[in-house]
Symmetry: C2
Subunit: 476 residues, 2 copies
């Protein structure tokens, strides 16, 4: 993929490549056969943006120029560009041409600006993050202190690739209590967040002969990329009842967010849930249940997880990325018993185990009640923020709809007739960072309108200013 | 691979499988096509042992029975058994037959006994671990406390997939000072230990068209398994000058332990180092330099790393597994500049990033000098242990040779004329756990004689008792 400009020496492996002068940057992209030229061009550009080598705002060469330099059909480059626009990496620049978007990094792939800006000058309303300023610092320090001071020496040695028994026992109880998940500690596999869970599960399914995975569209772009590494991805549309049944019967694996669809925020209707569960039982389909914000539900009793209704078919995945913060890389898979051995072996060869001290600290937080206290406080704070957003939109944008607000840390702001790319650009120039809904769809034909507003992201003291700045632009 | 006995339902995907009554345990192994039946049988058995479903000492069915039950050629099962014996998973049982070894888990894959036993009743002299009782508890608590209390909120958010800038800056200085590594912080990729580093690098090399990787034999069995997931493994013998040049010219990648070969303990001779570096420059070979115990050298100035002599070709990998303990999953790759983008993209899709708080705690340990103080104290303690071992062997086993002792945390005890499998069994019955050198070779034809003694593993107070118990058996 990307080929760092620091390297003086010529290309080592002699691949098909070209030098692209993009806004004065020597962009050397490398499109050696990786399943199709279009995919190779996309991969190379994505990785150059991710690594920061292609900086925000950089104007890309025209499709004619790039196709000439790479010696590929112009249509290939055009398709690659529109795919990356759909994923939110690139935007159509005013007056034609294509640029790297300001918030080009995949929606939750982390700050793509220097910390100072990310913290200060910008009103950051990107989805996919909690308020990291609310990280329970004192409780975490207390828990780590207890664990590191009082544990037997063996906790500093290797442990079971499935994770520390203390954490698996604590999680089995916690998940049953909070999400209705039914799992025995020996069927829990602790990992380093949802990304790794999906990566490991996809590999296990592929090794067991799975060929096709149904993935919601829209969804996190990276999730389809991870699944696509081992399985054929079937894009499945989402409507206001959640993932549609279309084509699910052809899939060996279904990856979904039933409690609170990301990004649309709808929850899967009882009919759809029953249909999916029946399918899994009848056709032995594997279901990956991504419960990324299951702890945050405001208006009615939390929807239970799918997992207890088909524990032999559903791999339920949760993490601390929204409850504590993305910097603590802890996730868990409540695993169908028949997959545990394969998953443990895959984890062992991927990174042996997740760090034990973080695992024991989380177990201690759950045991002490600090985890529940922190979640209750967060739930209250995010619910207030949501209500503030809904009220402010009603006051200042009578024509707009706010949806997907029953749960989670983000909402959809639907602005009929507005061009979302243009909106994001106007907001960017007012230092407001949001994500266009179109950034999450893989279909290049339909870009659903609207903006995704992450109302948990700013620190508490900066929240109302952020909403104010947002609405000044939208109402202005 | 493994198929948990807890699952009531029939096999979901209908593969080629059989039920094996091994010592009363319903061992359902699943040998669906994974590149050859022999490999499938091996994988299935390895994963059943790893997961603890095939417990230590379990007698396996005869090759005739198993081949009958699986419906595969008896030779396939025989080959699989001998491969797993060579890797140390199985042992030939007294009176014929094959059993699961007591210390069957891959040499550094963690405790395969309940903590109580692992800590107490056993004299644990397995290699691959430091003395975890010496973990710097107070310094770690201090460092985490400082970081979590005093850092800006953004440290709780996502960070660069390459790792926290604070740690990459600290490591660039530390590695230059201690190992002579020449790397800029932007070319360092922080990961979760050597296993993940090898996993990510192998994937990047394969995506760039590499086909063959030369791997030392003997070596950690898991390392060949990780590389073998994406590349053809070329077994390269090791002699007393280190990895032999045989066949290196045919490899696209060379994976080696130049400073202190694992497990033989020799260091690569200057001639061999120059030959390897010349090869890398001339043939654009990638070198993975596994510097797993580079901090521990006793008798002369530490051998510098290969990396500074070919920074465009050598990926230098280190970790805290031997310096702090395996429970802290922190490693680093000093990366050829041309690989950084691909490696960062691979890390992002594998698990986004390694946990930030551990990264910042290590940066703080390096900054404060606590890391160097801890390493100096460890070096002194391990050197004393090594001298104790060498003296005790000289006193009580005049016929034996102790080799590979210039560095590291383990030694080779060469006992001419002794059968290592029988030795390990006799030691096991005396509650002494060591690893047979044969457990590290992939060649089923030659099992190098001798035992690998991990002299760092027992806590300080238990060390002389462990050596005493070892020599009571060997001298008895």
């Amino acid at each position: 993929m990307g080929h760092s400009s620091q390297e003086a020496s010529p290309d080592p492996d002699g691949g098909h490549r070209g030098a692209v002068p993009a806004a004065g940057l020597d962009l050397l992209i490398d499109i050696r056969g990786r399943g199709g030229l279009r995919k190779s061009v996309e991969d190379a550009l994505r990785s150059a943006v991710r690594s920061g080598r292609l900086v925000a705002g950089t104007r890309l060469p025209s499709t004619r120029d790039l196709s000439g330099q790479l010696g590929v059909a112009r249509g290939t480059v055009t398709q690659a560009y529109s795919q990356l626009v759909a994923e939110g990496w690139l935007v159509a620049a005013a007056g034609g041409g294509t640029r790297v978007t300001e918030n080009a990094i995949a929606p939750d792939a982390g700050p793509d600006l220097p910390p100072a800006q990310a913290r200060g000058a910008w009103h950051d309303l990107r989805p996919g993050r909690p308020d990291v300023a609310a990280f329970p610092r004192a409780a975490w320090i207390r828990a780590v202190g207890r664990v590191v001071r009082d544990s037997p020496a063996e906790v500093f040695d290797y442990t079971d690739p499935r994770g520390r028994p203390e954490l698996r026992a604590a999680l089995a109880g916690y998940l049953a209590r909070v999400r209705g998940v039914r799992v025995r500690p020996e069927h829990l596999v602790v990992c380093s967040g949802y990304t790794q869970a999906l990566h490991l599960l996809t590999g296990v399914f592929a090794a067991r002969g799975a060929g096709t995975a149904a993935v919601e569209d829209p969804a996190m772009p990276d999730h389809a990329a991870i699944v696509g590494g081992r399985l054929r991805v079937l894009d499945v549309p989402v409507d206001d009842e959640g993932m549609t049944p279309a084509g699910l019967a052809d899939a060996d694996v279904v990856v979904c967010t039933p409690a609170h669809q990301f990004p649309l925020g709808v929850s899967m209707s009882p009919e759809r849930r029953n249909h999916l569960l029946a399918l899994a039982r009848a056709r032995r389909t594997w279901i990956v249940e991504d419960d990324y914000d299951g702890e945050f539900r405001y208006d009615r009793h939390p929807l239970g997880a799918l997992q207890p209704h088909a524990p032999d078919r559903v791999a339920y995945v949760g993490s601390t990325s929204k409850s504590l913060g993305p910097a603590v890389r802890l996730g868990w898979i409540a695993c169908p018993p028949s997959l545990v051995d394969d998953l443990a072996a895959a984890k062992l060869l991927a990174d042996r185990q997740t760090g034990s001290l973080d695992q024991l600290a989380l177990a201690e937080l759950i045991r002490s009640g600090d985890y529940d206290r922190h979640l209750r406080a967060s739930r209250l704070a995010y619910r207030r923020r949501r209500d503030t957003l809904v009220r402010a939109v009603a006051d200042r944008l009578p024509g707009a709809r706010v949806t997907g607000i029953a749960a989670g840390l983000h909402a959809i702001l639907d602005l009929p007739g507005e061009d979302q790319v243009d909106l994001v650009a106007r907001l960017r120039s007012a230092s407001v960072r949001v994500q266009a809904l179109g950034a999450y769809t893989r279909s290049t034909t339909s870009l659903p309108p609207g903006l995704v507003i992450g109302y948990a992201t700013p620190p508490g003291h900066a929240y109302s200013a952020a909403i104010g700045a947002l609405l000044d632009v939208l109402a202005g």
